[in-house]
Symmetry: D2
Subunit: 240 residues, 4 copies
């Protein structure tokens, strides 16, 4: 049976050369691109200009650190049992970045992509639930959204998607949260919605390494475990 050819355009190397996305890694990338720019290169196939670099880095940086989230607790508890496998602790922490939390950036980007040409009212009418809106703590405004849109304006990336999300939020009288802003900005940058959740995933990988470092110095995993286990099973144990 004739077989499909395997093909990847991301990188190649020979004895003395390493080329990523068509650029010489030592000569054109190292010392020239920061980590956010490198992510931009991976996702778009080209290096960002200064404005793109600024807004894209801001978007990803926003998602790095949110304190002791479920993800962070997971990474710390995993590290407790397998300190020899730091990569597994980070991976464990990433696994919960599904539909409930970080996934909403993807939801927003998808919504905006698929709603091409529609206005805020139409979109609201057609969707029971719109992602990227509302926040349990930051209301009526999410200070990250304000700042991200300020940078977007400054760098020429505040466009129709940002405007539309702001109109939707106003209409629904809900906070436009940071994931909503980032989803809209991903569309402004032309990113495929299917990969937008990846911005949060790469960002959180950075943050989780920070949590694991803190766990090595000021651990909380054992204490969390013992408290939870004791309380959760107390009703089952025979009274002394």
């Amino acid at each position: 049976m004739p077989r499909k050819k395997l093909k990847s355009d991301l990188a190649w190397s020979t004895v003395d050369r390493i080329v990523v996305r068509g650029k010489d890694l030592p000569g054109e990338i190292l010392g020239h691109l920061n980590l956010g720019d490198m992510a931009f290169l991976e996702l778009t196939g080209r290096t960002p200009n200064a404005n793109e670099s600024k807004i894209f880095n801001a978007m990803v940086v926003t998602l790095v650190e949110h304190g002791v989230t479920p993800s962070a607790i997971v990474a710390r508890l995993t590290y407790l049992g397998a300190p020899e496998a730091l990569q597994a602790a980070v991976a464990g922490g990433l696994l919960g970045l599904g539909s409930v939390f970080v996934g909403s950036t993807e939801g927003v980007a998808r919504l905006l992509t698929e709603a091409a040409g529609k206005d805020a009212k139409q979109i609201i009418a057609e969707h029971k639930r719109i992602p990227g809106l509302g926040h349990p703590l930051h209301k009526p405004v999410d200070p990250r959204t304000v700042r991200l849109f300020e940078i977007a304006r400054e760098t020429g990336h505040y466009g129709k998607y940002c405007r539309l999300m702001e109109e939707i939020a106003k209409e629904k009288k809900l906070t436009l949260n940071a994931t909503g802003a980032i989803g809209a900005l991903a569309c402004e940058l032309g990113l495929d919605w299917k990969i937008v959740r990846g911005l949060g995933v790469m960002a959180r990988a950075v943050g989780l390494v920070g949590h694991i470092l803190e766990e090595t110095r000021d651990p909380m995993a054992t204490e969390i475990w013992e408290r939870v286990d004791e309380e959760a099973s107390a009703h089952l144990k025979p009274k002394k």
Copy 2:
């Protein structure tokens, strides 16, 4: 029983404020720090100066993309089965960053930390196997090491650890590979060896998102699976 207090210094938020590592996220971080700088902040508790930013970003960027590695194949095969869970595909790809591949940065940093005060010959005498040396393809020199040490010199980060690793490599007549260089540079920056594997983990999270994006456009997972399955079980099947 008196309980240990849970404590994290990484972040806090109130209705209108989000503070990470003592810095106001919207006001002092977004638009000011790139993703590599943010990682530096997470790992050291302070923002890098321009020189630190340059070398640190270069170190992490080096580890982002290596073509179709086992990690990348894992991410693609995982995405094939669970496209609704991109985070799991990235996490899957990270799980193999253990002792064999990316872990050698940690090994180098640990070796150099624990060998404080010793010279190249002593270190060689005391260790059967020294990580960070040798490369199946890039020999006699790894072009990434050359470039990283060039940036290190330029930014004032080429110090005793870099020198020591170069002496060890020369003595052993082996290539000082990129993980060896990065392990040494991590020591120059004062990073704790216990977290050095995390540099590769965060970098590869970025690269794996790139692979998943390519997989959505130019898939190879099904083809890999079918070829492997067919070949591996051919000897078991009844001859027709």
Copy 3:
């Protein structure tokens, strides 16, 4: 703020006792329940009778081993990079058990649960795509389905859900595959559809350990990697 109480009914222990689901682990479980029975106890809160034990074990055993699947390749590639973390290799292999493969057991159980009272034609009319039908290789019949329903009849578990799935398959002229049969049988046993994917997950964990053992003896991971990498990047490399 008054807090919600943490509570788990699964297990408790004291100095000399370990009780799982209300049963004394050493005295009432070890030596009395096999691994499938123990899974049944975890999922239903009671020990299975002989008929339940037979059908439930058959359902789970069906899903243990499918040869060199994407999951198995993932586990082997992960083990290649992190042989010190066997648990991560198994976990990696499980991550792809999403909507595309094993998830269809869940889809079937959910469909049958939500379609209570409807007949085959109604269900077909209301669903664009029905999970558990069709198989690339096993057609017109999946031999596992035949055998599972035979055991179901023998043990008194062939009921309305099995019948309904068979009618749907007949109507659609498609093979009722093993995941379709298992989804129906899960309903016969009264299992919550939300946990049905878990049957495949636990079964595959068993199978993946088998693959890792074989990988330690007769490895294929490096070979897969090298072939894929070489072919995928060949078009990028300069002609010699």
Copy 4:
């Protein structure tokens, strides 16, 4: 370059046949082997006799459920964020089964394998730390060890490895815990130490599905998160 052949002996299928480890899946396995027996088949290449089935199932069943462990908390927190990916919640829970907890079964099996021919005193003299000994709660005896060795005697599997571990424990005046007993029994059964950690991994996969089911009914993940986050960041927030 001549290539290594890919080869797996685990399973093959054709249109109407599925064969696992040389046995016809529908005809010789389903309805005949329970889940523990199937694991035995995967790990040894043959079906267990009644005695082997009893001891092996008991060993694995012992490791299924331990209440609200770090693993279980991880699975629940992961499920909170990604309820659409149950497989990721189970996988997340498995990732912490490293050197600290379940890994000790592997440690014991390795120690006993490598110490072939030595007696308790020699082994103690040669090892700073011996795995499988001591328990924070179950002392002076672990009731699981007592019961496992009872079944071992009954089934003819109490042999030199069990005896040696008991002598070591007596000599060290420490409890021989369940992982110590299981490590010894794995040697009695001739299992390769490299795969012994896999017994705990497969067992815990079963248990974690049980925890996720309970989480869907009686959730604790949000409550754990909120308590931990609030307490851990309290010292950073401005006093009102």
